[in-house]
């Protein structure tokens, strides 16, 4: 039996070229895949999915406890016992979100610079701002999903755990836009700080350790220092607790002080100052980050 091998040769591409928009989407899609370890080896998947699992497990535990209390102690037990709900979730889970960001931010930015891939991005029809915007949006999307999913599970759990789910839904439906907005606030801040830190080094480990240290140390340090002092000085020192900055805005959105911020002297400065402080800590790092990447391009 004889056969013929056909060499189809080189085929030029004459199809659509979708320009910069497609390039932006490519960086965004790659960012999401890198953040979740998709298309990478098994080790790259462990940490992101572990964090998503832990964040979800926290919400599940909160929903189970609240449901059990409602069933065993009657309607309204969650409020009577002051059990943690939506307004407290981001406070409780914030350290997990921050550590998750400390892993993902450097993964998205440091690796491209360390391995030299950044120079390939910049010779394609996208700008450095497109690259950075797409990477930021990818990390924002992953963290937002990781923040919203547990809140949605918690809401469903609280609804299902209530003896009258419909009554619970009608009484608490406003928690949905609140937790969506608060999630945006917490994640936008966290992503920006993590990416700015990652932009200063090509080594992911340095950036991750620095970020975890930053988030883990500033809270006890500023709280301890604020307790030694009094008045406006203590209030302003307390403002430098990096984990609390978005949580004060979370409190303002829910109209309720969460367990994580109830002892923070900064609360006395008022909502407007706390929201302004949050905006400063998000927009100034974002501008710095943008200017650092602008310098990479011509």
């Amino acid at each position: 039996m004889t056969g013929t091998v056909f060499d189809i040769g080189y085929r030029s591409y004459a199809g659509a070229r979708e320009g910069r928009r497609r390039g932006w989407l490519a960086v965004y899609k790659d960012g999401i895949r890198a953040a979740l370890g998709l298309g990478r080896g098994p080790r790259a998947k462990v940490l992101p999915w572990l964090f998503i699992g832990v964040l979800t497990a926290i919400a599940l535990v909160m929903a189970i406890i609240a449901g059990a209390a409602e069933r065993m102690m009657g309607p309204g037990a969650t409020e009577r016992l002051d059990l943690p709900t939506h307004s407290d979730y981001y406070g409780i889970a914030s350290i997990i979100v921050f550590v998750f960001a400390a892993i993902v931010g450097p993964e998205l930015l440091c690796r491209d610079r360390r391995e030299g891939t950044i120079q390939l991005y910049l010779v394609h029809p996208i700008t450095s701002t497109d690259y950075l915007g797409a990477r930021w949006a990818a990390m924002f999307s992953v963290l937002l999903a990781a923040a919203w999913l547990p809140q949605a599970i918690l809401f469903l759990g609280l609804c299902g755990g209530d003896p009258s789910p419909a009554t619970y839904f009608l009484a608490h439906w406003l928690d949905i836009p609140r937790f969506l907005l608060a999630g945006l606030v917490v994640v936008a801040y966290t992503v920006t700080i993590a990416m700015l830190t990652a932009s200063f080094t090509t080594r992911r480990a340095y950036a991750s350790v620095f970020l975890v240290g930053l988030f883990a140390i500033t809270a006890p340090f500023t709280i301890g220092l604020a307790q030694e002092l009094d008045g406006p000085v203590a209030q302003w020192i307390s403002m430098f607790s990096l984990t609390d900055i978005p949580l004060h805005v979370n409190d303002a959105i829910f109209g309720k002080v969460s367990e994580m911020t109830e002892h923070a002297p900064a609360r006395a400065l008022g909502t407007a100052v706390l929201v302004g402080w949050y905006l400063a800590w998000t927009l100034i790092p974002a501008t710095l980050l943008w200017s650092r990447y602008r310098r990479l391009a011509a």
């Binding site: 080189y10 591409y13 659509a16 497609r22 899609k29 790259a44 390939l120």
Partner: protein
């Protein structure tokens, strides 16, 4: 594209980094075909390429790619490819995934990007290895992936910065064959940067020579090769007499270790050598054409400047 169309144009291009002048008032035009940009390390080859790609802005002058300034009009980059000299590949992902991503980055829709990625990997002989993580590839395979990412979006023109760097002799031959194939079979014009004259001579039609940021030569490779070739001669005795006999015939000759180096390699030089050998009776041990080392070429240019 017609043969006469200018793909790259540099007009009075100057680039300074502080007090260091990387390119000094350089002007040349690159047309369709394979053009080599030759120069020692630090000659300004990579700087010129980065200016064309829009990665660097020139201090003064104009650099046009396909008629446009790439830093002002990034869309033109969709029609050019670039293979950097240094590492640029992600270690964790497979070649297929990476090339699909690069094709999408140039604007190709996802399905077309996947097809193109598989096609170019087949053309460079990496089709069977396409699902392995790039981090596990050999240097030669990585160089081929680097070439693939420059070709995956089917550009009109590719800039290859030292594509043979770090390769063993066999890998170098394979890479140069791929560069020739890129133009002759794929129809994509090439600007190849190298500090090796032999690479440029075997691959390119035209050449641009840079030295210390200055343009030394621009033209056909054959002409440049003829101008820079020498003849190496070794005799067992009467070497000084032979030098004298060659000198009387107007041949420029210099002592080179145990042998002699003669400027030029045209037929008249061989005739003069034959006559001088007969006249002096010097027993010939070895005679061969030889290319000047790049440093020698540049020293010669400096002397004549």
């Amino acid at each position: 594209m017609n043969d006469g169309t200018a793909l790259l144009v540099a007009e009075h291009l100057t680039k300074r980094f502080g007090s260091h002048v990387a390119l000094d008032d350089v002007s040349f035009t690159i047309r369709e075909g394979i053009t080599g940009i030759l120069g020692e390390n630090g000659a300004g080859k990579s700087t010129a390429m980065k200016i064309f790609l829009g990665l660097l802005r020139p201090t003064s002058g104009v650099a046009l790619v396909l008629g446009e300034n790439a830093s002002e009009h990034p869309r033109v980059r969709a029609r050019i490819g670039y293979m950097p000299e240094h590492d640029c590949l992600p270690s964790q992902v497979s070649a297929a995934e990476f090339l699909t991503h690069m094709a999408e980055l140039s604007g190709l829709p996802p399905r077309a990007a996947r097809t193109r990625a598989a096609d170019v990997l087949r053309h460079v002989g990496l089709f069977e290895e396409r699902y392995r993580a790039i981090g596990g590839y050999s240097t030669g395979m990585k160089q081929r992936v680097k070439l693939c990412q420059a070709l995956v979006h089917d550009p009109a023109f590719v800039l290859l910065d030292e594509p043979t760097a770090g390769l063993d002799p066999l890998g170098r031959e394979e890479m140069l064959a791929l560069v020739r194939k890129t133009h002759r079979e794929f129809g994509i014009s090439v600007l190849l940067s190298s500090h090796l004259m032999s690479d440029v001579e075997r691959t390119c039609d035209r050449i641009v020579v840079l030295q210390g940021g200055h343009l030394v030569h621009a033209g056909e490779v054959t002409q440049f090769a003829a101008e820079t070739e020498t003849v190496f001669l070794e005799v067992d005795a009467h070497r000084e007499a032979l030098v004298g006999a060659l000198g009387r015939r107007g041949v420029r000759v210099s002592l080179d270790g145990g042998g002699l180096t003669i400027e030029g390699s045209d037929e008249s030089v061989y005739d003069h050598v034959r006559d001088a050998l007969v006249e002096t009776g010097a027993p010939l041990r070895r005679m061969a054409p030889r290319r000047r080392a790049l440093t020698e070429l540049f020293e010669r240019e400096e002397r004549s400047a």
